[in-house]
Symmetry: C2
Amino acid sequence: MNAATELAVAYIEAWNETDAVQRRSLIEKAFTRDVSYVDPIMNGDGHDGVDALIAGVHQRFPGFRFKLMDGVDGHADYLRFSWELGPEGTEAPIQGTDFAVVEAGRLARITGFLDRVPAE
Amino acid sequence: MNAATELAVAYIEAWNETDAVQRRSLIEKAFTRDVSYVDPIMNGDGHDGVDALIAGVHQRFPGFRFKLMDGVDGHADYLRFSWELGPEGTEAPIQGTDFAVVEAGRLARITGFLDRVPAE
């Protein structure tokens, strides 16, 4: 794995971790201390902020898993990757693409966009 | 057109303008004074920097035009859009996606990624 893919994998691992202690460790590994995250429906800053966002998604979508899609793309300190979210073993109802700025090997600013959302 | 699409259109217009005076005017309309632009093969800062990048692309690809693709997507001050670049009337050999941060209605930071490049 190259560095871009490693970081995208670390990001997905953090988002999938339901154990609070384990998740904190994964968040510290993947995100800078003053990380900022924003997407069309939520935003959070710092390790505490990201942790709260992830916990909120687990609460809203119990049993759903994030899966990294092919095509992680990075240049210099910029990264983009797409993911899907859904119950394991089914076609994922939600897909998105994240853009990130990397600082010293960790994710510093993440901006998310949604590519697929469930019909109302 | 919504604000996100208007800004993406203004961006494409600036990239397509071959007249130096007209282009400068379009750049001032679309980009903040201290804009930064970076993609996998080039980068530039400020109106002068962006102008030089655009002139360089015209020199390298004479007659090529940028075309905005469907699906301009924005939330808060964040924007993404995809474009294609090629000779008019043919399938474009180059496609990319730009992610931008907007400040006061103009593009402040643009990070570009390439989705399709010609085979070597």
